[in-house]
């Protein structure tokens, strides 16, 4: 076999251009003149870049870099942008700083503007625990009912949000269901008895004169109230309804009594602004008002 003749320049019949003369196992190249458009495109994109380099921070210079004529800094721009966002909604958001919840809730147009924002805040921050509609779930209380651990009026809710419950916040609300079993505060049989009493309370069949009622009065009423109706503002739930944080089966209640409970609600003071917290407080307070909220949109 002969070597391919080198530098044998042909003309390509299709394009009319000459080949370069190289031949790699049959592959050839055309010596097509350099397309002008590529030069233009390079020039154009380079011009764009050059303008950007002049205007924006761009080239490193050892220990410093060119700052650009516009003197931009992305952190400042973002902070300013955020400031502008805050200003754009300041006309209604700042109203929530007042904390006069009755007046705020009465202002229907204001609520119409604020509640979608509160709903988004709730979905991004609270729904993970309290559920998308605020109905809670195992370990996380229902916010859409009438029962409250600390109180359902917006002032109280706002304070709960600010400091949290059993949270890392220095002023946190603190509450604890003691571990009567684990800590040996009540013997087994009495725990069982008091558990049955709690069950009876919630179904409305409790006998106020039974020994278990005495046990309850001695051990539990200080937090849960005389008749288990809660509302003492110490974070202890109502026990006379069929709403449960940790479940209402006998086993669940026994577990609560044996191990105790100390649910944690995070504090939001450092994450949400005071106005956002107030907005949320109204939103949450509205969740419990039988649909007839006038608050929730």
């Amino acid at each position: 076999m002969s070597r391919p003749t080198r530098h044998e320049v042909d003309t390509d019949p299709v394009t009319g251009y000459e080949t370069t003369g190289h031949n790699w196992n049959g592959i050839r190249e055309l010596n097509t003149p350099f397309p002008r458009i590529v030069i233009w495109a390079l020039a154009l994109t380079f011009a764009y870049s050059a303008v950007a380099w002049v205007l924006l921070p761009a080239w490193p210079l050892g220990r410093d870099y060119t700052r650009g004529l516009l003197g931009l800094d992305q952190g400042e721009i973002a902070a300013e942008g955020y400031q502008r966002l805050a200003e754009a909604r300041a006309d209604w958001v700042t109203l929530f700083a007042s904390g006069d919840f009755t007046a705020l809730a009465a202002d229907k147009t204001l609520m119409a503007r604020a509640m979608p924002a509160a709903a988004r805040l709730f979905a991004d921050n609270c729904a993970a625990c309290h559920g998308a509609t605020g109905t809670g779930g195992p370990g996380f209380p229902n916010l859409a009912d009438q029962d409250w651990l600390w109180g359902g009026d917006p002032e109280t809710v706002a304070e709960t949000l600010r400091v949290g419950i059993n949270s890392a916040h220095l002023e946190t609300r603190f509450s604890q269901m003691p571990a009567f079993g684990r800590d040996g505060m009540l013997p087994r049989n009495e725990i069982a008895a008091v558990a049955d009493h709690v069950l009876a309370l919630s179904s409305g069949k409790a006998d106020p004169n039974s020994p278990s009622a005495t046990l309850f009065a001695e051990n539990c009423s200080s937090c849960h109230g005389e008749a288990g109706t809660g509302g003492l503002g110490v974070g202890a739930p109502v026990l006379v309804d069929d709403q449960w944080i940790y479940g209402g089966s006998r086993d669940d209640i026994l577990t609560t009594l044996r191990q105790g409970r100390q649910g944690v609600m995070p504090a939001w003071e450092n994450r949400l602004s005071a106005t956002e917290i107030n907005m949320l407080a109204l939103y949450v307070a509205g969740l419990g008002q039988d649909g007839e909220t006038g608050v929730r949109q």
Partner: protein, 243 residues
């Protein structure tokens, strides 16, 4: 020019050299100054390194590929600040080998996650995300209940110390002990953890059971530490903007 190239094409080592030179320039210009320009990384005074338990959690985070769905980098954009909090600073990840900024948000950003949820919630969520967030598409991680292997922690801290992370000899020597103590608030070692790593470190039975040190403890400790290693980022936003 064309002639020059025409000749270069005939010399394979010439092509090799030219390729290397052409390819080196960009990286050199962009990477080297990141070490020489001081303002690139301002290490905040209050920045602390991860505790051994958090470090172990970080490795679980990497092992499970959480970074495939979660970023840890709030970009300097107004809407991101609005949703997630202050934008991330270079200093915040100055001790991270490797960084875990991520490139995809199938799930939300986690840079400001610490203290957002309770330990209990994390435990439930990781074991079965859909039990707390029905619409979630995050996988369940039920195997995190296995015991944590702390064997290697001292060696890991020592390795990181060689790379410039400020772990003292004392921290290195006590890594295993500290990992255990951080999950046992009532144990003797708990105060040592706080003494060594700072009062802001969370010392809790993260998985709700202080009798066993599990992978869940480590991962939750890590998640609760995100965004809490320094307060520097919170100072970037004017106070009135956050109110």
């Amino acid at each position: 020019m064309l002639k020059l190239h025409y000749n270069l094409e005939k010399v394979s080592l010439g092509m090799v050299a030219a390729i290397i030179v052409a390819a080196l320039i960009g990286g050199a210009v962009e990477i080297a100054p990141l070490f020489t320009i001081d303002e690139t990384v301002a290490i905040p005074d209050d920045l602390r390194p991860h505790t051994p338990l958090e470090l172990a959690g970080r490795e679980i985070y990497m092992r499970e590929g959480c970074y495939a769905c979660h970023s840890q980098m709030v970009r300097a954009l107004a809407d991101e600040i609005d949703r997630y909090g202050p934008y991330s600073l270079a200093g915040e990840s100055a001790y991270d080998h490797p960084m875990l900024w991520g490139s995809k948000r199938t799930g939300p950003d986690l840079a400001r996650l610490g203290d957002k949820y309770s330990d209990d919630w994390h435990v439930v969520h990781l074991a079965d995300p859909r039990s707390v967030v029905p619409a979630s598409i995050m996988p369940a991680y039920p195997w995190l209940t296995t015991s944590l292997d702390t064997e290697n922690l001292s060696a890991q801290l020592a390795t990181l110390a060689r790379l410039g992370v400020p772990y003292s000899d004392e921290m290195i020597a006590n890594a295993m002990r500290d990992a255990l103590a951080q999950s046992r608030p009532d144990s003797d070692g708990a105060a040592d953890v706080a003494a060594r790593y700072g009062e802001s470190v969370a010392i809790r039975a993260f998985d709700g059971n202080s009798s066993r040190l599990t992978e869940m403890d480590a991962l939750v400790a890590y998640l609760q530490s995100l965004g809490t290693l320094t307060k520097a980022a919170h100072e970037t936003l004017a106070p009135e903007a956050t109110q």
